[in-house]
């Protein structure tokens, strides 16, 4: 994947030596995310949500007449390409700021680059990760987060499970910074209640939904957990849920927002169709944005309208074939909200947005209403936009908000 992406990008660069010129885009934002590989659903849906809003802005005249463009590269959810992409975006593509990065292992690794380029005033907007590094010193000053953190998500999950009597918590996590971040969240949340996790098991990043995770399922089954918190990407989580259920583990399995609920669900339904079995029961997914079916929310209506109107797709050369896009998704909705905030920042910078004025523009946002239930405030030392976590479960093939945790009481 990695090699392929490099070749692809290199080819692109050769073919289009001056892409910006032909696009005639005045404001260029840089993005590196997984557009290929087992986690491509995250990068693609995030891009689509963001671009749906930008498209709307561009069509209505842009920012003071200047159009916004997203320069996106594929990193396949791997750190090294992410670093390379970032350098390229900063040095060659001369983007205004970086936006919509996906993943903890990737983002964690590019953070030192931001510090390195601090003289160029490069900032990362709203990475799609709930990990701690970009929320803490020394990197939090270069990063603006919109979504709540993994520690908030996991703490919420742990609290809910404990409330319904499920105290034996086990963790299934990705063997990298992301997984470890979630693991740390669970550990700390349990420690707050004087508890320890009853089992933990890792899997290798890049695991596909067709791979076997039976070994992990067997290990956790031995721990006899009351609930399992899963810190993973959707393909591996789907494989684990399948193998755990096949091993007879029927306790609730909770996934954090990064999993991409719609991608996970479609994988599980696919597996279920193949094996003639329902794998969607007893799933709990925490979300960091509101339910996109809740039409009472203005941003949801805007999101849906924009998606219906533009249904944007990433450049063909960035993705590999065979991806079925989600009509709407939590990831896409998050991308849409990200875009709303970024456009607000661009507006606030006036006619000549430049990198030096970005931080000031963001930190000037106070009680901003972007059409969701919560108002957003940034400031010096406060680069975290939202802290809300929403809990959903599968009903009739859709993730819907959980109204009653009592059904999983123990």
């Amino acid at each position: 994947m990695y090699l392929r992406s490099i070749i692809l990008v290199s080819c692109l660069l050769l073919l289009l030596p001056f892409p910006q010129a032909s696009e005639a885009a005045d404001i260029v934002l840089g993005m590196s995310a997984a557009f290929t590989g087992p986690s491509r659903g995250l990068g693609i849906e995030l891009y689509r949500g963001t671009l749906a809003y930008i498209e709307r802005v561009n069509r209505s005249g842009g920012i003071n007449g200047r159009k916004i463009a997203i320069k996106a590269y594929d990193d396949g959810y791997n750190p090294v390409p992410a670093i390379e992409n970032t350098i390229r975006l900063i040095e060659k593509d001369n983007v205004l700021f970086l936006a919509d990065y996906v993943g903890t292992p990737t983002v964690t690794r590019i953070l030192p680059l931001l510090k390195k380029y601090s003289d160029r005033h490069i900032h990362l907007f709203f990475p799609f990760t709930g990990a701690q590094p970009q929320r803490e010193a020394p990197y939090n000053e270069f990063v603006f987060n919109l979504r709540a953190s993994y520690s908030q998500e996991t703490a919420g999950l742990v609290d809910h499970f404990l409330k319904i009597g499920r105290k034996r918590i086990a963790v299934f996590y990705q063997a990298d910074a992301y997984g470890r971040s979630g693991w740390e969240g669970v550990r700390k949340a349990l420690a707050g209640h004087g508890l320890r996790m009853v089992g933990e098991v890792t899997y290798r990043r890049g695991t596909r939904h067709t791979d076997s995770l039976r070994e992990q399922a067997v290990i956790l089954k031995k721990a006899a957990p009351d609930a399992i918190i899963s810190i993973g990407a959707y393909a591996a989580c789907a494989a684990f849920i399948r193998d755990a259920r096949d091993e007879g583990v029927d306790v609730p399995i909770a996934n954090v927002s990064f999993v991409g609920s719609e991608s996970l669900l479609s994988r599980l339904m696919e597996i279920g169709r193949e094996k003639g079995k329902d794998y969607t029961a007893n799933l709990v997914n925490s979300q960091v944005v509101q339910n996109y079916d809740d039409m009472t929310v203005r941003a949801v209506r805007e999101y849906r309208e924009a998606m219906d109107a533009y249904n944007p797709m990433p450049p063909l050369e960035l993705t590999d074939s065979g991806y079925e896009p989600q009509k709407y998704s939590y990831v896409g909705f998050e991308g849409f909200l990200n875009a709303k905030l970024m456009v607000e920042v661009l507006r606030r910078m006036g006619n000549n947005p430049d990198r030096e004025r970005v931080r000031g523009a963001v930190e000037g946002i106070k009680d901003l209403d972007i059409g969701i239930n919560t108002r957003i405030t940034f400031g010096p030392g406060k680069h975290q936009g939202l802290d809300d976590v929403y809990y959903t479960t599968v009903q009739q093939g859709r993730f819907v908000p959980i109204t009653d945790w009592g059904r999983w009481s123990k």
Binding site: P79, V80, T104, P105, T108, R109, A131, Q132, P133, E136, A137, A175, D176, A177, Y178, G179, R180, S181, W183, E184, E200, V201, T202, Y203, R204, E215, Q216, I219
Partner: protein, 738 residues
């Protein structure tokens, strides 16, 4: 093209040495690489562990787990790093890279707070690792473990060995190819040419050349061989010439030899013919001389008075003269017989018998035959014979003849004293020797005594006695039996003649071929058994083409009281026989018009004449043929008149009262053959195969004689049974031994 053995061996050596070299190099470099890589991995692992330990201080104190995780993930991407794990001072895992769980083995690895440690670690189900642990801030904060994958080292070594192996294999292939091409061109090909060249030489193709162009040892060798070939060519040309000359000479010699053989045969034939031709007139001369003597003594002398002294003297003179004629005639007969004998021996026409008998028989019978000679000269015969003498195989009569000859020679040359007859069993052979005390033989003459027609010592002074053929005949006989004959002598003191006969394995008698012997024994039995009496005059037909012989036989038979008819040839004889029905026929063999054998066949197959006994009187010795045809007796010329008269009388007696024979032999063909032969001779014969049947048949047939196999008599006690239980005391038994 087939690879030569030499080339194959050389290639094998090259391959083996290169292979061994490759193995050695691979082993050494593997070992070296292993050492090197291990060292490399240890230092790499140490570097990683220590740098994580150093940078981890701040992270563990100030930062969250994912930052540290990102750090160790980053380090883990270094080649050879299998795992990284960070634990705190309580050995709780802060960060790790294991999937799916942290193995217990890693947590049990010993660490040192002061220094970086290297441990070997085996993780069950995963493999072998080099665990490098570094303390973080003297172990107060925790430890970093970096696991270096030993499998990677092995893979590295494998890759290196495979690469090296491929390279060596390539070099090997090239070396092989070069060696093969070199060998093929510079060694194999010349060798093959030389081989082919040598094969050409073997096939006598000396004009070929080796065809080697290279300027090396092969060329020198080829040149040397070519020179040898040239030399051979010349030598062979010379020897071919010589061979041709030799071949010509051999051809000439062969022709000469053939001519000589032809001459020798002609000589032998001549001798035989002359001897035969001499016998016929001699028969007449001797026969008539004897008749004259008999007539004179019976008829003439009694009529002449003996008063007249002159007449008496004349009578004595006539009588003496006739005696001289008779004795000289007999000597002449003996001479002719000897000449004929030796001629036949030389021509290989003698019918040798092969019978098994005791050597003692030779001694007994030869001394008996010569006893009268000793008496006449008043000499003593001393015998030195051991008690036990072995059996020998051969012609009994001929060997007795040798002994008789030696004894009579001894008598001949000894005037007084004694003759000693010795027998010795000398291991594989029996040596018989006769020692006389006579004049002896000069050394120069010793070998000559066995040569034909040489009389030693008396050529001038002494009177020739005997034919001079006795010893040559003896030599022929002894040589035929595989023995030797020799003489030891001291002139004036006497001579010793010795001969040796190899001890023979007793062989089965040839049975039927020795029918003559059986007939003789039968005849003897019949002779003793049948009283001699005559009732009436019998008619005898004499068939002979010689009028003198007819006259002689006629007179002799007439004087014995028989009526004699004569016929001059076979046809006349058959005619006369049918017309006159004689009681017996004497038949010559060599006759014009129809020979004696054909005549006998006609007579024996004509019912009118088949009962008439036939006595063959001939110089032709073919007894077997005669008996097969069915003649009753076979006598040879010159005619022994006494024997003829005896046989005649016997046959006539038998003719008057034909005898019944019972032949008993468990070998059916033998029994049938004997029966057939007896019947052919006019006897009535019945064969029987075994004891019980024999007794039954004997009781019913009342035969005059029973010819029986000794084996059967022993087995069934047939003789006793028949003699004493069946009232056959007077029946004659002839026992046949095998």
């Amino acid at each position: 093209m087939r690879m030569s053995v030499l080339l194959r061996k050389n290639l094998l050596i090259v391959v083996s040495s290169l292979f061994a070299l490759a193995l050695a190099v691979a082993a050494f470099s593997s070992w070296n690489l292993y050492r090197h890589l291990t060292g490399e991995y240890v230092s790499k692992g140490s570097a990683v562990a220590e740098s994580i330990a150093n940078s981890g201080i701040e992270m563990m104190l100030n930062r969250d787990a994912s930052t540290l995780q990102a750090l160790i993930d980053q380090w883990k991407e270094i080649e050879g790093v299998a795992y990284i794990i960070v634990v705190n001072s309580e050995r709780e895992v802060i960060s790790h890279t294991f999937v799916p769980v942290v193995p217990d083995e890693v947590l049990a690895v010993e660490t040192s707070a002061r220094e970086t440690r290297v441990n070997k670690l085996h993780i069950r189900g995963k493999g072998d690792y080099i665990d490098v642990s570094a303390p973080i801030l003297g172990g107060v904060i925790g430890y970093v473990h970096v696991g270096m994958d030993k499998g990677m080292i092995e893979k590295g070594i494998q890759a290196s060995v495979v690469g090296q192996g491929s390279l060596i294999a390539l070099i090997l292939a090239v070396v092989l190819l070069i060696t093969y091409l070199f060998f093929d061109r510079h060694v194999d090909s010349p060798l093959k040419k030389l081989t082919s060249y040598a094969n050409n030489m073997l096939a006598h193709n000396y004009s070929a050349t080796a065809g080697i162009e290279s300027n090396d040892e092969f060329k020198y060798l080829a040149n040397a061989i070519e020179q040898i070939a040239g030399h051979f060519q010349r030598v062979i040309a010379n020897s071919e010439q010589t061979m041709k000359e030799l071949s010509d000479t051999a051809g000439k010699l062969e022709a000469a030899n053939a001519r000589l053989k032809e001459l020798d045969t002609m000589k032998t034939d001549f001798t035989s013919t002359v001897s035969h031709e001499l016998r016929t007139p001699l028969t007449s001369v001797l026969g008539f001389a004897k008749l004259i003597k008999a007539r004179l003594n019976e008829r003439i002398f009694p009529l002449i008075g003996t008063e007249d002294k002159k007449t008496e003297k004349t009578m004595k003179q006539i009588s003496g003269n006739i005696d001289i004629i008779i004795s000289e005639g007999e000597r002449l007969t003996a001479l002719i017989n000897d000449v004929l004998d030796i001629a036949k021996m030389e021509a290989g026409k003698i019918e040798w018998k092969k019978e098994s008998f005791s050597a003692r028989e030779i001694i007994d019978r030869s001394t008996a035959a010569t006893s009268s000679l000793f008496e006449q000269k008043g000499l003593t015969l001393l015998k030195e014979v051991p008690d036990e003498l072995p059996m020998i195989t051969g012609d009994r009569d001929r060997l007795i003849q040798v002994a008789i000859n030696l004894l009579s020679n001894a008598v001949k040359f000894t005037e007084r004293g004694s003759v000693t007859f010795r027998a010795q069993d000398a291991g594989g052979e029996i040596v018989l020797s006769v020692t006389d005390s006579g004049v002896g033989i000069a050394p120069a003459d010793r070998d000559k005594v066995f040569e034909k027609f040489r009389q030693v010592g008396n050529s001038l002074t002494g009177k020739a006695k005997g034919t001079g053929l006795g010893l040559p005949i003896c030599k022929e006989i002894v040589t035929h039996h595989g023995g030797k004959i020799w003489v030891e002598s001291e002139p004036g003191r006497g001579s010793t003649f010795s001969f040796s006969i190899p001890r023979g394995e007793p062989e089965a008698a040839e049975g039927l071929s020795d029918m003559d012997d059986l007939m003789k024994r039968l005849r003897e039995q019949v002779m003793t058994a049948i009283p001699s009496h005559r009732s009436e005059r019998k008619k005898i037909l004499v068939v002979d083409d010689e009028p003198n012989i007819r006259e002689l036989l006629g007179q002799a038979l007439t004087s014995s009281g028989y009526d004699v008819l004569e016929a001059a040839n076979g046809i006349e004889g058959i005619k006369t026989a049918k017309k006159e029905r004689p009681d017996l026929i004497t038949l010559d063999i060599m006759m014009p018009e129809m020979n004696g054998f054909d005549t006998a066949v006609v007579l024996k197959n004509d019912p009118q004449t088949m009962d008439i006994p036939i006595i063959v009187l001939s110089i032709v010795e073919d007894r077997q043929r005669g008996y097969r045809i069915g003649v009753d007796r076979y006598l040879s010329k010159p005619i022994d008149m006494d024997a003829l008269l005896k046989e005649t009388e016997l046959l006539l007696q038998r003719g008057a009262s034909p005898k019944k024979f019972l032949v008993v032999d468990d070998d059916e063909p033998t029994a049938k053959a004997i029966t057939a032969m007896l019947e052919a001779r006019g006897y009535s014969a019945i064969d029987s195969c075994c004891g019980a049947e024999c007794i039954e048949k004997a009781a019913s047939l009342k035969p005059d004689m029973i010819i029986i196999d000794t084996v059967i008599t022993h087995r069934h006690d047939v003789m006793k049974t028949l003699r004493y239980e069946k009232g056959m005391e007077n029946v004659l038994f002839v026992l046949l031994g095998k």
